[in-house]
């Protein structure tokens, strides 16, 4: 037993301890005094929570909700179509399956992956701001703002899945004379399609939320209604619209589950009307209606974007972003840099706090949220009490994840004064739902045989937890946490837009003061922390992955 291998054995422990330290650092870097809450925060809390149980269900509001939901769905579908096109082109190129392991092939793969990495690093709302500033408030601004980063995310997943596809059957195709392009259609795509489709469905659900928050740049939809009702302090309407968001997420989830079930049945055994067919029809229908809708919108002619006026405007915007013809651009000013860096640190603190809150809240609830525990299969204990908790917590997860971070932030700043803490809470609320669900599924799918055996060895409940459950699920838990951490850091800028401080708030201010060189500076800082987080997360996941087979989220 060498020293190095002993250290490597404890690498996960060291990693965990550093995570906990980072969380405590962030907790102690913000002030937690009484000033935290708004002057009538307690009253507002009662008001908001009270109206949760009596949402406004009047016909006018419901009709408004249906209309707004339709608009949100249209934008989301249009954005997803663009995302799929980007993903198929750059994901395939980035996977390296088309050109093999040559210098040229590797270069293409690296360039494509970097491109995908760059476009997904910037949050869709930031893209939206940039588009609105350059081409004006057109529906296309929202559609492209959605499609571009989603294309980056989907493309990366497609590239990863293609690159990890089992090589044996591909080799067989190659030896029987298939070209690389043919192996793509006869080997790779059939093998990975189920995986890709279920991930795309999940992304579609996310796109609905992203589409909703496009309201922030003035696009209609369910988010816009939420924002209007919030500014009128009509919380009962806010909850009604939020329930529309929840319903959309639940319906999509249902569709996705049914589709996956149906895809697992061999073709000849499927029923005449099966979910694969229904999904195909639905997808074509959505694709057609969405573009008809967008084109039919006022002055949304695609080529209208490219008028001379607009081009001039876009040129002016980008040149001022790069500081051309600007006196003393922000990114050459030391004072501005100092300001930006302190905002960056603030943003990191907000992100780490959010990750910590998410992890703690998920840890506290996840055991009760797993089927294994609810049915008493894992603990072989009494299941009478655990079942209601299971439904309660799963319901809570669905609810919190259906509401975008930005909407949580807009609600929370009514209670807590704008700043880092409400931002972190908003980020955490949304992510508890996602992480909790992912973690609960890990427990559901774990091998229960070792746990049973521990029980036969005379272990009690806590011993079974520490010797069986935790070691089995821990690597996967950490892996999912890092994956969420990447998303959380990327989204810090968005809650900042709602007044939660950090880079986002400053970004919005600079945008409205037309201080575009400062926008550039802030974006540089933002992209740097997103990339550093991605790098650290990738490294940590590699450490966690050692010796344990882990599925990527």
């Amino acid at each position: 037993m060498t020293l190095i291998s002993r250290i490597s054995l404890h690498r996960k422990l060291i990693l965990t301890i550093s995570l906990i330290c980072a969380f405590f650092w962030s907790v102690f870097s913000v002030s937690w005094d009484k000033d935290l809450f708004n002057s009538n925060g307690a009253n507002t809390t009662f008001l908001i929570l009270g109206s949760l149980f009596k949402p406004n269900l009047s016909p006018e509001i419901l009709i408004l909700g249906v209309k707004a939901t339709f608009i949100t769905l249209m934008y989301a579908s249009a954005g997803m179509l663009i995302a799929i096109v980007i993903a198929v082109i750059f994901g395939t190129l980035g996977s390296g399956v088309l050109f093999g392991n040559s210098v040229f092939g590797n270069a293409i793969a690296t360039i494509s992956r970097s491109f995908l990495g760059f476009i997904r690093a910037i949050h869709e709302l930031v893209w939206a701001f940039l588009f609105v500033s350059s081409i004006g408030l057109s529906p296309y601004a929202a559609v492209f703002a959605l499609g571009i980063p989603y294309g980056g995310i989907l493309g990366r997943i497609l590239a990863d899945i293609l690159a990890d596809a089992p090589k044996n059957s591909i080799l067989a195709l190659r030896t029987s004379g298939a070209s690389r392009l043919q192996t793509l259609f006869y080997g790779y795509l059939p093998m990975v399609s189920a995986n890709i489709i279920s991930y795309t469905m999940y992304r579609f659900e996310c796109a609905l939320r992203s589409s909703a928050i496009m309201s922030f740049i003035g696009i209609a939809g369910i988010g816009y209604q939420i924002q209007l009702s919030l500014s009128d302090l009509k919380f009962d309407e806010v909850w009604t619209f939020i329930f529309f968001l929840v319903a959309m997420a639940v319906l999509l989830d249902f569709w996705s589950i049914k589709l996956r079930e149906s895809m697992n049945i061999p073709k000849h055994e499927r029923k005449k009307m099966n979910w694969v067919q229904i999904s195909q029809v639905l997808a074509v229908f959505l694709a057609l209606t969405t573009w008809i809708y967008i084109i039919s919108l006022d002055d949304a002619s695609f080529f209208g974007i490219f008028t001379e006026n607009n081009l001039l405007f876009a040129k002016k915007f980008f040149s001022s972003m790069f500081g051309i013809g600007v006196e003393n651009p922000a990114f050459l000013d030391i004072e501005q840099w100092k300001n930006a860096i302190s905002l960056t640190i603030e943003t990191i603190i907000m992100g780490v706090l959010a990750i910590g809150f998410t992890a703690v809240a998920s840890l506290l609830t996840v055991l009760l949220a797993s089927k294994n525990v609810a049915t008493g299969q894992l603990t072989m204990g009494n299941s009478l009490l655990t079942k209601p908790f299971f439904y309660l917590i799963r319901g809570f997860y669905i609810f919190t994840r259906s509401v975008p971070e930005l909407v949580w932030a807009m609600l929370i700043v009514f209670i807590i004064k704008p700043g880092i803490i409400p931002g972190a809470i908003a980020l955490a609320l949304h992510n508890i739902g996602i992480l909790g669900k992912l973690w609960a599924e890990v427990i559901d799918e774990m091998d229960t045989r070792p746990i049973r055996n521990l029980q036969l060895n005379g272990a009690n409940y806590v011993q079974m937890l520490f010797y069986g459950v935790i070691p089995s699920v821990f690597p996967q838990f950490l892996s999912f946490l890092f994956y969420r951490a990447e998303v959380i850091i990327r989204t810090t800028i968005v809650v900042g837009l709602a007044g939660a401080g950090g880079l986002g708030q400053e970004f919005k201010m600079s945008m409205s003061f037309f201080d575009y060189t400062n926008v550039t500076l802030l974006l540089i800082c933002y992209i740097v922390i997103v990339f550093v987080t991605d790098f650290l997360s990738g490294l940590s996941r590699k450490i966690v992955k050692e010796n344990s087979a882990i599925a990527e989220p």
Binding site: M1, S5, R6, L9, D447, R449, P450, R452, N453, L454, Q455, L456, N457, G458, A459, N460, V462, Q463, F466, Y467, G468, P471, S472, F474, P475, N547, S548
Partner: protein
């Protein structure tokens, strides 16, 4: 003398989903006996073993372990002192180190604090070391268990049993996922350790050769009934042919 009885079955019947899996089984296993259960797939071997550890609820006093009816055992800690079980290698926690998996056999004796401490600094290390030496794995103490081969993992499971020190070892197809040479090796180690410690061994096996080679007594099950129960020296090829062939006729 009653003291020497390890397992006593008194017309044990088990129904699962309205199907009779075991019908009216009765036999006695004396302390220190090495008993192999053989029989075709679906004969009820696993159900029998699961019943012995209380996984199938038996209402009456049909099963007696070390002179105490099974339903009189207070909890799993109490039963763990009497019975230890070994199955295919899926019973170990792959992410733990070898020593922690072995020391899991001590969990019934340890308090909460000691068991948590042991995950960081292994406790009662000497006991684990002795056990690992006896199964020939003293050089892999700190390896992650999932990185070991199937045969090695089964040795870790054996070492855990040595640490747990039960009076009876139940083995459910302990070698069915190993190649013949390794299977022979594990069964010979298992029977050797059981004889050395004067433990009762009650093992279900696919391999008739291993059963005849290493066990003192063979019980054959078919369709939930005992077809024969003989010392291994008296088990003839004809009996075995009947046992496995009859199933195809039915």
């Amino acid at each position: 003398m009653t003291q020497s009885t390890a397992i006593e079955l008194n017309s044990l019947t088990v129904n699962l989903e309205r199907k009779i899996i075991l019908s009216s089984l009765s036999f006695t296993v004396k302390k220190g006996e090495l008993v192999a259960i053989i029989g075709p797939s679906g004969a009820g071997k696993t159900t029998l073993l699961n019943s012995l550890i209380g996984l199938n609820k038996t209402t009456k006093d049909e099963i007696t372990i070390s002179n105490l009816p099974l339903n009189k055992y207070k909890n799993n800690k109490h039963l763990a002192k009497k019975i230890g079980i070994i199955r295919q290698q899926f019973d170990l926690v792959g992410q733990l180190t070898v020593i922690n998996n072995v020391l899991a056999g001590r969990l019934s004796d340890w308090g909460l604090f000691k068991s948590l401490m042991s995950l960081v600094v292994p406790q009662d290390k000497e006991i684990a070391l002795t056990a690992l030496k006896r199964v020939g794995l003293e050089d892999k103490i700190y390896q992650q268990t999932s990185s070991l081969s199937g045969g090695e993992q089964q040795r870790v499971a054996l070492a855990r049993l040595l640490v747990q020190k039960p009076e009876i070892i139940l083995a459910d197809e302990p070698v069915s996922s190993l190649d013949p040479a390794r299977a022979d090796d594990i069964i010979s180690t298992l029977t050797r350790l059981a004889s050395e410690e004067n433990l009762t061994l009650f093992a279900s096996l696919h391999s008739v050769e291993l059963a005849r080679k290493y066990f003192t007594r063979i019980i054959a099950l078919r369709d939930g009934r005992v077809t024969f129960d003989l010392p291994s020296s008296e088990v003839t090829d004809e009996l075995l042919n009947n046992l496995y062939e009859l199933k195809e006729i039915i």
